[in-house]
């Protein structure tokens, strides 16, 4: 009974408000404004809306119940850490890895290409996860390090003719250096202040790249960045030391796509390996401890600034690797690729995946890159849908898609 009453009130309110907005229109008659009546054309929509509001209010409890259940049930679930089930974990890793290596030879070219892009985001997500998820430092300008990595390769190649494999470590190192240089003054700040400074840094790098026209080509970007080679064998149609000539097979542009995919996969595996080791090192434990209580850390002789700086630098290095790979894959980069929304997407990947959870980050990166592709037919509503999904996600699973138990050190009896 109570429900009906509130539903009636809600529907009535809707009719009054919407009727006012939709039912009348100001029209110009000569120099004067006249209130025109449009109720005759709008009444269908008004009735439909009113009915919907009425029903939604009436069955509010029934509609929200399954969602509530979902939120409650999902609350306590978290993946076990590898140490808890080592055999199963090893087996699963091997299976998944084997699947990922075989897959590009079966999958379509477009899908493999999309997967390569996804892997770049996986790498970025994992790198930012070190900074945000593990060390607890909110970095809104992560894309700057990605840009540094990409431009390192592009510029070193354009001016000095270095190839991808030489530039990959240099790009990582340069991005790490930028992380270090930025981190040094700003890591005294905490929380919101740090977020704002990093946000500013991200923009500075982009604007710098945009305006240093003589060096970086400005908004025109840098084109013709060569693709990576396999021990010096290029995947082009014409040139010296070509892959298909060396192995005496006919040229197929698909090889290049598969090679790039496998290279990205290798980089991701490398990233996961390093971060997993870090988690089990004193440094990883110190990050964790610092996130929980900085004052206690200081009282035990841990230098907070130094520890934050390592997290920042290591995170930046992974962005640098990802950046140089991105430049190699695209063959063309411009400041357009490193706008703030990229930082936001990477951060969303980390948060969506469950802070600190590596499998979660991988999953979220897949969702975040593939979802926009799948919803392409919704055109302008795409971003709206995307936003809606994120909001719903944060309501139902604020802990992320796949939170994971951190690998704890265990005392063996």
């Amino acid at each position: 009974m109570n429900n009906i009453k509130s539903a009636l009130i809600a529907a009535g309110l809707f009719l009054i408000l919407a009727g006012w907005l939709m039912g009348f229109r100001l029209e110009t008659a000569g120099t004067r404004l006249v209130v025109g009546n449009r109720l005759d054309t709008a009444w269908e929509w008004l009735a439909l809306g009113g009915g919907l509001v009425f029903l939604a209010q009436l069955f509010h409890a029934q509609v929200t119940r399954p969602f509530k259940l979902l939120a409650e049930r999902g609350g306590s679930f978290a993946l076990p850490a590898p140490e808890e089930k080592p055999m199963l974990f090893r087996l699963l890793t091997l299976l998944v890895l084997a699947g990922l290596i075989i897959w590009p030879f079966i999958g379509s070219r477009g899908a493999v290409d999309l997967a390569t892009l996804t892997l770049i985001y996986v790498m970025l997500g994992l790198g930012l996860n070190v900074v945000v998820g593990l060390a607890g430092l909110l970095d809104l300008g992560y894309v700057a390090f990605y840009a540094v990595g990409a431009y390192s390769y592009a510029l070193l190649n354009a001016y000095l003719g270095f190839d991808f494999w030489t530039c990959l470590p240099i790009a990582g190192g340069l991005a790490a250096l930028f992380g270090f240089l930025l981190g040094f003054p700003v890591l005294r700040l905490r929380g919101d202040y740090l977020a704002i400074v990093t946000l500013g840094f991200g923009e500075i790098i982009r604007i710098l790249l945009n305006n240093m026209t003589e060096l970086t080509g400005g908004p025109n970007g840098i084109a013709g960045i060569p693709k990576p080679t396999l021990f010096g064998l290029a995947f082009e149609r014409k040139g010296d030391s070509l892959f298909h000539e060396f192995f005496n097979i006919s040229y197929n542009s698909g090889y290049k796509v598969i090679f790039l995919y496998l290279l990205a996969l290798g980089l991701v595996v490398f990233t996961i390996f390093i971060i997993n080791r870090l988690l089990r090192m004193p440094l990883g434990r110190a990050w964790e401890a610092l996130r929980e209580d900085e004052i206690a850390c200081r009282s035990l002789g841990l230098n907070p600034t130094l520890i934050k700086l390592t997290a920042f630098t290591i995170g930046a290095a992974f962005a640098g690797f990802a950046g140089s790979f991105f430049a190699a894959r695209q063959g063309f980069i411009s400041p357009e690729s490193f706008v703030f929304i990229e930082s936001a997407i990477i951060l969303a990947i980390v948060v969506l995946g469950g802070m600190g959870s590596q499998i979660g980050v991988v999953l979220a990166a897949i969702v975040m890159t593939i979802l926009p592709e799948l919803t392409r037919e919704f055109n302008e509503y795409r971003m709206l849908l995307f936003g809606l999904l994120m909001v719903l996600m944060m309501i139902w699973r604020p802990q992320g898609l796949l939170p994971m138990h951190r690998p704890h050190m265990e005392m063996k009896s």
Binding site: I274, R277, L278, R280, M281, P282, L283, R285, A286, E288, A289, E292, D293, I295, A296, C297, R298, S299, L300, G301, L302, N303, P304, H408, M409, E410, M411
Partner: protein, 254 residues
């Protein structure tokens, strides 16, 4: 022999407020020295100045003859002066064992490459770290909780873990800020024995802030009384107990 800790003229001002005024104290190795005083007397502020959490406005602090006033907290801790807090500050989401491992950060192999490659040196350092953690868990009777998250321990256990965590970083001077706060009489007795044990068997000196007079009078070698930021009296427990000024400060004028 130089004193372990020698403080003179220690002053801390917050704007116009003088929280600590000309406090002096000295302690020798393997002593248990207490600082007592009514609430708001500035005891914790003294601790914060000594441990580098505040930069004292004046005065000198010498630890083993080395001037340490104004150094950042983590440097002072590395020299061997480690403190606990009035409110327990554990790493709540980490296990008991990990709390002890983090405390040993400076003793472990933090070399980046060594850790990535798991070199023998790295493994050895980690193993030694675990052994030390084990020793301290045994000492504070928390061995069976080693793999529990610290936040899930009972309050008394958290207090003991905090002391163990300090000890795991191998300090020479242990500074305890109201370690008995919130403990029941049994636990306080146990704390009493633990502090004596630490001094006798682990060679650590203890600087103590405490309100529990039974504990303070029982174990202290020397007591400093502060009131309203100023030193009021000092001496052995017997001397302090019979000092008219101290009684006045605690009980008010008769």
């Amino acid at each position: 022999m130089t004193d372990l800790l020698a403080v003179s003229g220690l002053t801390m001002r917050f704007g116009g407020l003088v929280a600590v005024d000309q406090v002096a104290l000295t302690m020798k190795e393997r002593q248990i020295v207490s600082v007592i005083g009514p609430n708001g007397a500035g005891k914790t502020t003294i601790f914060n100045c000594l441990s580098g959490f505040y930069k004292p406005s004046g005065g000198t602090v010498h630890f083993r003859g080395q001037a340490i006033q104004g150094l950042p907290g983590h440097k002072i801790a590395r020299l061997g002066m480690v403190r606990t807090f009035q409110h327990v500050r554990l790493f709540k989401e980490m296990t008991v064992l990990e709390n002890l491992l983090v405390a040993q950060h400076r003793l472990l192999n933090t070399n980046f490459i060594a850790g990535l490659l798991k070199t023998p040196g790295f493994r050895r350092a980690e193993k030694e770290g675990l052994e030390r953690a084990h020793y301290w868990l045994e000492k504070v009777r928390l061995t069976e909780f080693a793999n529990r998250t610290a936040g899930n321990l009972a309050y008394g256990q958290q207090r003991r873990l905090e002391i163990a965590r300090c000890m795991a970083s191998r300090p020479e001077l242990l500074m305890l800020d109201e370690p008995a706060a919130g403990l029941n009489p049994n636990e306080t007795d146990e704390l009493d024995r633990l502090i004596c044990d630490l001094r006798d068997n682990d060679g650590v000196s203890v600087l103590l802030i405490e309100h529990d007079m039974k504990l303070v009078m029982g174990i202290s070698d020397h007591i400093y009384v502060v009131n309203q930021g100023r030193p009021l009296a000092d001496g052995t427990p017997g001397q302090v107990q019979n000092n008219a000024e101290v009684i006045k400060a605690y009980l008010g004028e008769a």
